[in-house]
């Protein structure tokens, strides 16, 4: 009750705050500004209150709320219980809203110090407003009897909830969505600043206060993306860290736009050019977040992905389209209104300038983002073009992104070696010499060792070039002022990551291995032994696999279980990190000895005269042996024997007559199996004798292969796993860490600069 009410209160206070800000913008009255601030802060407090309410309701198991009933249960440990806050759509919208509104508090103070408050805040407030509207429409505070009116009795409190999907029951669930949504929320800031710049006619300076926020957004989103990748790799068993899945792509695209805009903003700082480009890119950082949300949350992708995209209903679908249209048209209309008066900065730099290299780099990032967006949207595109939804193959992404990646590698190197505006060509070419030679040497070395694909060789060249030139330039900067080294550090990280991509995903090796318990098997140069399984909880089992190489011993414990929640088999891999490579063990199936009897038994449905084949045997059902005198016996409840007369023929052997039978006494039946050649055991599994029309009599005969049973039993359990080696995958993770470190250094530097700039302007 209270929660739903608070949502509506926040909706109203937020609206008042926006209107007051607009009023202040038009009239400039100081009192109105105070009202606007007061109402914005009230909105944030109300949002905090209803978020706390939702958390409290989750922690106290109030299952009368549909959302809480749907995603949590009494059995969950506290951290996971807390994570059910954002396990569903309603809650993840709430989390997004919560972080956006909190960022707004800092943004309000920050922008007011820099004189952008009454332009930035109405735009940012509108984002909060629309997110609130989403929660008004799809509220986490709906009662079960409101969700199913008439079907569930009012006031009914379910004793327990449905629980959290075991796929999400993992520590990554506690941290990954939080970071990702913090990134999504931060992307609202560049949008608000771009709008503010257009309103204020301040095309030049808005980028200074906006930069730290964009870098912060890129950092958070980046960490969120890589955490998701690691989660997929380590727990979900996707085999790799990146599957070009719509969910992954949709956070990568805004990230690419934010990185592109970081680079063009850098150019604008120096030369004043790229005014329009920066305004558009700043807006796109947020608009692509909206579009991504639409793709993954509206059900529009249908069943074209491994993810099940929940259809949230018409209201949310149209509201999301509405948000996209609203925020894009605000940006577009303002751009058009101001287009003519925007200063045209003559492009002074020539081709041998850092500006031009940065522009090309950003353009390449945008092209990558466009390709990924087109690929991810392919179900929508094909539905429009062909009337049928279909997705692109994953190959589309690597095919299109790889050549652009080569370009990115080379440009990150060149841009560092060039000077702003104009470079001395001689100097430039001589600075090229060392990184080029080193890159050629690296590429030649790797080609001679392993790389036999031209595109990969070029990619390695590009990555090496980025690595060496950034080390060359970076080490010089670090000696001077380490604060300025953010860019070089980030690029070194990127290059290291690129190497990791190639080694771990292009030169990995895989093998499917059947592991009989306690019997060592060689695979990929390792010795694997399956040692048995142990129970982890009610339904999960960990399968112990000993991995040996060169006298060293490691243990992997992949998990495989039947999940009642998903009503299916779940598999979690295990990873052994060996510094230079990962040994990855993914479980496929367990052939259990206790199933041996079932597995070695075949059953045949036969009518009179039918013949079935098993191996080299031909089995014919002749008729039932059902003597007339036994009919009377059966009616009296005495002992009766019914047999099925079979003929078994085998090439080169004399046909044999067999008669498995069932003995019935006092309503209970016992089998009297017969054996053939001491190997096969024949039993009547079921029968439908028809005394009036003997041709209609049906029988089901079970034939057990005793030899196969004994073999399987002697073998014990067999665990089938897919073992793979991912060389130098640690390069990916360390590259990522270096990249984020670089972004961190950049945030500190730009935030300081924005502060100093403002103070000097006072």
């Amino acid at each position: 009750m209270i929660g739903a009410l608070l949502v509506k209160i926040a909706f109203v206070t937020c609206l008042i705050s926006i209107l007051a800000y607009i009023q202040h913008l038009r009239k400039g009255e100081e009192n109105v500004l105070k009202i606007a601030r007061w109402f914005y802060h009230s909105t944030v407090i109300t949002i905090l209150l209803f978020s706390a309410t939702l958390l409290y309701l989750i922690l106290t198991h109030q299952f009368q709320y549909t959302y809480i009933w749907s995603y949590s249960s009494r059995e969950l440990p506290t951290p996971l219980l807390i994570s059910t806050f954002y396990a569903g759509q309603e809650g993840s919208f709430t989390l997004w809203l919560l972080y956006t509104s909190i960022i707004g508090v800092f943004l309000l103070r920050y922008s007011s110090r820099k004189g952008y408050e009454s332009e930035v805040m109405p735009a940012f407030g509108l984002i909060v407003q629309m997110l609130l509207l989403l929660i008004v429409v799809k509220s986490p505070f709906t009662f079960v009897w409101e969700t199913w009116p008439g079907e569930v009795q009012a006031g009914f409190v379910p004793a327990n909830g449905r629980g959290l999907n075991p796929l999400l029951q993992n520590y990554w669930m506690v941290i990954h969505p939080q970071v990702l949504f913090a990134g999504f929320s931060a992307m609202g800031v560049p949008y608000a600043y771009a709008i503010a710049a257009l309103i204020k006619r301040d095309y030049k300076n808005w980028i200074r206060p906006a930069t730290p926020w964009i870098v912060f957004g890129a950092l958070m989103l980046g960490i969120g993306i890589i955490m998701g990748g690691y989660w997929a790799y380590e727990t979900l068993g996707w085999g790799g860290y990146w599957a070009w899945d719509p969910v992954e792509n949709s956070s990568l695209v805004p990230w690419l736009f934010s990185v592109a805009s970081i680079h063009t903003i850098l150019s604008q700082r120096k030369s004043g050019a790229f005014i329009r480009t920066n305004l558009v890119l700043g807006m796109l950082c947020f608009l692509t977040v909206l579009y991504s949300t639409f793709l993954t949350r509206s059900g529009v992708l249908g069943d074209t992905s491994v993810h099940s995209f929940v259809d949230p209903g018409m209201w949310v679908y149209w509201l999301m389209i509405g948000m996209l249209v609203l925020f894009s048209s605000i940006g577009l209309v303002l751009l058009m209104l101001r287009m003519k008066e925007m200063p045209k900065v003559p492009v002074l730099h020539d081709y041998y300038s850092r500006e031009f290299a940065l522009f090309l780099g950003s353009a390449t990032l945008v092209v990558i983002a466009v390709f990924i967006t087109v690929g991810t949207s392919s179900p929508i595109i094909t539905e429009i073009l062909q009337g049928k939804k279909s997705a692109v193959e994953i190959g589309f992404y690597s095919k299109t992104v790889l050549p652009l990646g080569i370009l990115i590698g080379i440009l990150t190197g060149i841009a560092q070696l060039l000077w702003w505006t104009k470079s001395d060509k001689r100097e430039f070419f001589s600075s090229l010499l060392l990184p080029t030679v080193l890159s050629l040497a690296t590429t030649a070395l790797l080609v001679s060792l392993k790389v036999h694909d031209l595109r990969l060789a070029l990619f390695i060249f590009g990555s090496s070039f980025a690595l060496f030139s950034n080390i060359q330039v970076g080490s010089r900067i670090v000696k001077g002022n380490p604060k300025y080294a953010g860019g070089a550090i980030a690029h070194v990280g990127l290059a290291v990551m690129f190497f990791g991509f190639v080694s771990s995903s292009e030169y990995d090796s895989k093998q499917t291995v059947s592991l009989t318990q306690n019997e060592p098997v060689e695979a990929l140069g390792y010795t694997l032994t399956y040692k048995g399984y142990k129970s982890l909880d009610e339904e999960k089992y960990a399968f112990q696999v000993k991995v040996e190489k060169d006298g060293k011993e490691y243990h992997a414990a992949p998990i495989m279980y039947y999940s009642k929640f998903n009503e299916g088999l779940m598999r979690n891999p295990d990873v052994i990190n060996l510094k230079t490579k990962d040994f990855y063990v993914a479980p496929l199936s367990l052939e259990s000895a206790s199933d041996a009897e079932k597995k070695a038994t075949a059953t045949f449905h036969m009518k009179k005269g039918d013949t079935a084949t098993m191996g080299s045997m031909e089995i014919t059902f002749n008729e039932f042996d059902f003597p007339v005198m036994e009919k009377a016996a059966m009616l009296e409840g005495r002992k009766v024997t019914i047999g099925a007369k079979l003929t078994v023929k085998e090439y080169g052997k004399k046909p044999e007559e067999l008669k498995p039978s069932k003995v019935m006494e006092n309503g209970a039946a016992t089998d009297q199996p017969v054996r053939y050649q001491d190997r096969y055991e024949f039993t009547i599994a079921s029968m439908q004798p028809d005394r009036d029309n003997k041709d209609n009599s049906k029988v089901e005969i079970a034939v057990k292969d005793l030899m196969a049973v004994n073999e399987q039993k002697a073998k014990g359990d067999v665990l089938v796993v897919e073992a793979s080696v991912k060389p130098f995958i640690n390069l990916v993770w360390s590259g990522v860490i270096i990249l984020f470190l670089g972004l961190g250094v950049t945030i500190v530097r730009r935030a300081q600069e924005a502060r100093l700039k403002h103070e000097s302007a006072d």
Binding site: A159, V392, V720
Partner: protein, 130 residues
């Protein structure tokens, strides 16, 4: 004409062609058995698992074999590289990505399952959880 504009225009057009070519090439047609037999490209074959016919995982080959029946009632053998996907037993319909081989079976590299959504909660389920 400004040479910069000409150069950028050429680059943009090149990327558009490259992109749309790759897109067409990678876009998998959704089809039934008749369509998959005709096509020489990789396709997405939609149908349901025929549970009456034998299916199973082969340890030696690490392949999963099952029979798929399409909407028209045609049937074919599908061999998937790897184990049966999660939720296979429950799937109301399956989509196999791959192509027909000369041996007459459909060789799939991936099988997606469409499940009766667990998320579409029903009021009966709520009433049961008392």
């Amino acid at each position: 004409m400004n040479p910069k504009i000409v150069v950028s225009a050429i680059i943009v057009i090149a990327f558009v062609i490259f992109g749309s070519y790759s897109f067409m090439d990678s876009n998998l047609e959704y089809t039934d058995i008749a369509g998959a037999l005709k096509s020489h490209k990789k396709v997405q074959l939609k149908g349901e698992w025929n549970k009456d016919k034998a299916s199973g995982f082969s340890q030696e080959k690490a392949q999963f074999t099952f029979y798929l029946r399409d909407e028209k009632g045609e049937e074919c053998k599908v061999i998937l590289e790897g184990a049966a996907p999660n939720n296979f037993e429950l799937a109301t319909s399956v989509v196999a990505k791959g192509r027909f081989t000369d041996e007459g079976y459909f060789h799939a590299t991936e099988v997606l399952t469409k499940c009766p959504s667990k998320y579409e909660a029903k009021s009966e389920e709520v009433n049961k959880s008392s």
